[in-house]
Every structure is written in C-alpha cells, then in structure tokens.
Symmetry: C2
Subunit: 352 residues, 2 copies
C-alpha cells in the first residue's frame, strides 16, 4: 500500500483515512473459496493454486468520464459491472474466476455512502460468481473515480481456450444477443442531454428496461462455460465481446491466421434493441457489429460439435471460418457481401 | 479490455489507438519465467503455478498529483518505481515475484515517447527482478496519469511470512536505512517551489544523490529475502515500509497482539539523510519514523536467530517485541520513553 504523502483531502472520507476506509469497506468479507488462504490485511493475498490447474490473470480499468458517467450510473451497478467485465475475460478463457483485487482512486466529491454502494455491487457480483475479494488499494484522486480490478481464475490446462485456435470450416457462434448495451448507452446519453438542457424534464425509459440493463448491469456468461462442460464441447477459440462483434471476430481471425464469413440475418438481436435503434435512427446490425459492451462470448467450434450446439437457445451460429487469411466478410440480408472491418460503421454506412 | 466508447481523444496517441498502443509498448516482451505460459494478447494471461508453492497477489495504484509529480519525476523512474513498490509487497511475504500486469489511464498531454520511457522503466524493473509483464489495460483518462500494477509471486507454504506472527522477546529488525526517501521528496518539493517562483533558477541537488534516488528509484529488498534463505532464518513477521516505521511496526504489533520497544539510537539513518534533514530543519528520527516510501523490510526474528543475523550489515536490530498489547514505545537518545503512534510527529514534536 502506498502512502498518501501529500495529504490531499479525501473529502468526507478524511475522518476514516485510507486504512480506516479499507477496513470499513472490507470488514465483513468472508472468504469462501478454499483456495483463498489470506485476503485483505497483509502485504499480499495468499492463494493456494488447485492441483493440476493453471491460473488465468486479467485486469481492467474503468475511468470516470471515459467508461462511465456518474450522472446516470448508480454506484451499485458500477461496482457490479466493474467486476463482471473482468470475470467475462476469465470466462472467455473457459476458466472459472476465483479471486479479485479492487483498487480505487477516489476524488473528494464521492461520499462514504457512495463507496459503500459501490462495494455492495462489487460484493454482489463476487457472491453470484463465487469469487473472493482478497485485496486492493484505495487512494485519493485529483479528479474523478478510477476503478482497477484484477481477476484470477483457474482451469485445467486442457480446458483453456485461446483466441488463436480457429480453423477452416469451424462454426462461428455467439451467446445471447448483441447491440443492446450500445442502444442502452445511447438512450442514457440522449436523456442526459435533455436533462442538461432542461433539468425539469424527467427521463422516460419505459419499455427500455432490457437495453438499459444490458448497459448498466451486464452479466458475464458463466452459464455458457458451464454449458460447454455439460455438453462436452471445447471451443477452438473464444473471446468476450467488449468492443463489438466485428472487432472481436477479427482478433480471433488474425490470431488464428484465418478468415471468416458471417450472415447478417443470423446475428442475434433482441426486439427491444431493434426498437431502440429505430427510435435513435441507427442500424441495429451496425450496433451489434460495433456497439460493444455486450460481454457475450464469441467462439468457434469444429463441425463435429454442430449437433451438440444447434439446439442451445443461448447460442446462435452466425457463420463459419474460412481459409482466406485477412478476408473478413459479412453477407447482408440482401445477400451482398461486405468486407467486415473493426470499424463496421464504415463498411455498412459507406464511410461515416 | 474495455472499449473507449466515448472516443475521448488520446492526444498524440490517437493514431495508434488503444490496441496499437498496447502492441507498440509490449511488442518486444519475451516471457522468461517458465510459469508464464501466455502473456499479453488474449483475454487473460495464463500462468502455471509451481508445484508445492502458493501464490501471493498484491496491487498498488499510483495517481498523478497524489503519489508523483511529473514536474520532477522522470518517466523511466516512475515506471521503475511503480513496479518496485509492488514487488516490495511480494518480498514482504518472503515470496518471489514472477508476473505483473500494468494498467494505465493516460491523459492526452502524455506523448508516446513519454509512455515508451515509462515502459523502459517498467521493463527494467522486471528484468532486474526476474518478473514477466503478462498483461494489462490501457485507456484514456480525463486528467492525469494513473498506473495500477498487480504482482503475482510464489513461495512454499512454510516460507510465507505474515504480519501476525511476532512474539514476545522477538527482535525487531529493519533493512537498509530510513527517512531518505522522505528527505528526497522534501528537497524536490522545495526546488519545485523555487522553480515556480523563479523558473530561471536551476535546482541545486549537489550532495543529495542518495536521498533523491531513495525517493525516485527505490530498490525493493530481494537481497534480504535471499539472505533469509542463505542463513536459514525465517522471520516471525514481516512488512515493507511504505508508510513509515511507526505505522508499519504498529501494524505488526496489532495483528500479532503484542507491544514493542524500539531505540532511537538503533534506527539506521544515512548521513546524507541527516544532513538533508538538518538543512530542512527536520528531525531525522521523525523522518525515519514517519517519512515513508523507503521500501525497506521491517521484520521480527526469534532470539534463537540473533547469532545468525547480528553481523549482517544490511540489517539493524532496533528493539524487541513485548507482551504489552497496544503499548508501543520509542526510547529516545536521552533515554526518555515516548509512546509510538502511527503519526510519530505528534509523539516527538509535541503535537505539530
């Protein structure tokens, strides 16, 4: 833990101080995983690796004003999401998360009550996913809230799935549906603008619960990892969709040295995403391709596994892997072949 | 990895983008530890835990304007220090660091060249300590630079040293010398003030190389951990000194349920720290007790190990553990007994 030498004010947190704050926020934590031997309170946490398993390690940083806007993000949701975006990366390795550390830089405008809500969300996500919070750091920030979370997970060596294993003819699959988180964000941003212009107008989000939840409280797909185990299916490659389907699919193809062909009419999009997109005058397919933050899993499976996966409601088969390295294609509903790019807006909207 | 949805400018980094930047900064990394199976480039890093070892996990966040001032902190030193403060926590468990992840939030005032220097320092620290950089996150920040580093290390279960094992009559020991980092910081802050008042005056740091280095480029004490192994000594408790001797010693005592008595004339202080303190009209002992950021190791050993440790030049025996729970004492040079508090300034200077 670093010292706050310059003694910058931590606002209402002043009375507690750094150690008091950490103690206050972490006092009731009970470690549940047998591998979590020592949590908060020493120089480091101590973890007993499980026999015959490998450790996966991932980290994500959320910055106020870049990744979230406190005007419309409840602290509890923020804490929940900060954890789940990390767990999503662990699941994307076909591994199970076990421990996290949480580091916060907190400006003096944040109250202790707000941090308590943030931790409520953090601990709720931990509980749901069977993860222990074992450490972290809390410090002042000159401006804004920054959350840096690191997650540890584990899997047997033979179960781990990387981005580089996709092979020609593999089926390209995606869990859940796409584009909703982006529509949710656009609606929140629109209402924010209206609010800024006229604070007396109350936001109207009726009918948009689903897309708002997709943005504010994404659920990482533990159930899909569990499904793989039940079905005895090991994907040949996998990635989580944080930046949009196009960008993630291209990552898989680049690292696997293959191409791809996907079909617009196979991309799963929720009806409320379509309605929201129409209201916002956006193309729902483009939102799915490039919106990002859906935290669904994009994976490839060999053809042998088609029978096992074809009736799984939570999974859509959207295309296949080709041998054409660096050739990434989207077949649109009118059967025109478009080149897929990491910025799919360009591909579909002709350059805006 | 999170998406930068709002597309806030990353200044000169714009052309590269987030993925380009990460690739640019991490392209030449070669993993050296056999346990580092997969580094940067997938959803998570993959690590093979060593047989019969436990994993330690620690994280620290450094925030511009709180922990460092870019006016007088070279980027390479900053990168080096950001890593070493984490490694220091691993050594304080009597463990060996093996992997780190580095997350950065970067404002648009930071150039690519500056980030390259930062990474030079990060990778230099990794090289010296045999650590692999295996992952991280890079994002924009609205203001300022934030560095969040997580370190993984390992040790045999029986070698791990916690804060809670100190027993009555144990000897209290400290590595190196104390107070230098604080004097270094005060000198830098003084010159900054002079510079702000009159930018034409060049800073004069002659004779202060040592204390400046203590502040800007602290060295975590791997050598002390190695010494324990060579001598066959296992401390009963250990902590690294990031917040000052008083505060850390009280942590050990509180967690061990014991008291302590230390002697002012035994506290190791470098002559240049004494000279610097005199120039700044500060009491060197107070600087050692409360200055912080020395990243030395404070540990206790049982009396049986006295013979093994007494001639070790890198270690000073400064007192002993007592049975008097919550009684923390400093015997000053004039043989007066002072209560030791986490804010030792009060104890010694009568309340300022």
């Amino acid at each position: 833990m670093l010292e706050d030498k310059n003694d910058k004010p931590l606002g209402k947190l002043d009375e507690l101080g750094e150690f008091g704050l950490i103690k206050h926020l972490t006092d009731n934590i009970v470690l549940k995983n047998p591998s979590s031997l020592k949590g908060v309170g020493d120089d480091a946490a101590v973890i007993a690796p499980s026999k015959n398993k490998q450790t996966v390690l991932t980290t994500d940083m959320l910055v106020e004003g870049i990744h979230f806007d406190l005007l419309y993000t409840p602290f509890k949701h923020l804490g929940y999401k900060a954890v789940t975006v990390n767990l999503s990366d662990v699941y994307a390795m076909n591994a199970h998360p076990k421990q996290i550390t949480v580091s916060l830089a907190v400006s003096n405008k944040i109250s202790i009550e707000a941090l308590e809500e943030l931790y409520e969300g953090i601990l709720l996500a931990c509980e749901i996913h069977g993860v222990d919070l074992v450490g972290g750091d809390t410090t002042s920030s000159v401006s804004g809230l920054i959350i840096s979370i690191t997650a540890l997970g584990e899997a047997k060596k033979e179960d781990l799935v990387y981005r580089n294993g996709a092979k020609e003819n593999d089926l390209i699959c995606v869990s859940g549906d796409l584009g909703g988180a982006f529509i949710g964000l656009q609606l929140l941003e629109r209402e924010k603008q209206i609010f800024n212009e006229n604070p007396s107008i109350q936001p109207d989000f009726s009918g948009y619960d689903y897309v708002l939840e997709r943005q504010l409280k994404p659920e990482p797909r533990k159930d899909v990892i569990d499904m793989f185990e039940e079905l005895g299916v090991k994907p040949t490659s996998m990635i989580d969709i944080s930046d949009g389907l196009s960008s993630e699919l291209i990552h898989i193809c680049q690292q696997s040295g293959v191409g791809c062909s996907i079909y617009e009419n196979k991309i799963p999009i929720d009806p409320s995403t379509v309605i929201g997109a129409e209201e916002l005058k956006l193309n729902p397919t483009v939102c799915a391709l490039n919106g990002g933050e859906d935290y669904e899993l994009l994976f490839t499976i060999s053809l042998d596994n088609y029978e096992k996966i074809k009736d799984q409601k939570r999974v859509a088969i959207i295309g296949h892997i080709t041998a054409d390295k660096e050739k990434y294609q989207l077949v649109s509903n009118d059967e025109v072949v478009h080149p897929l790019t990491a910025q799919g807006w360009n591909a579909l909207l002709g350059g805006n």
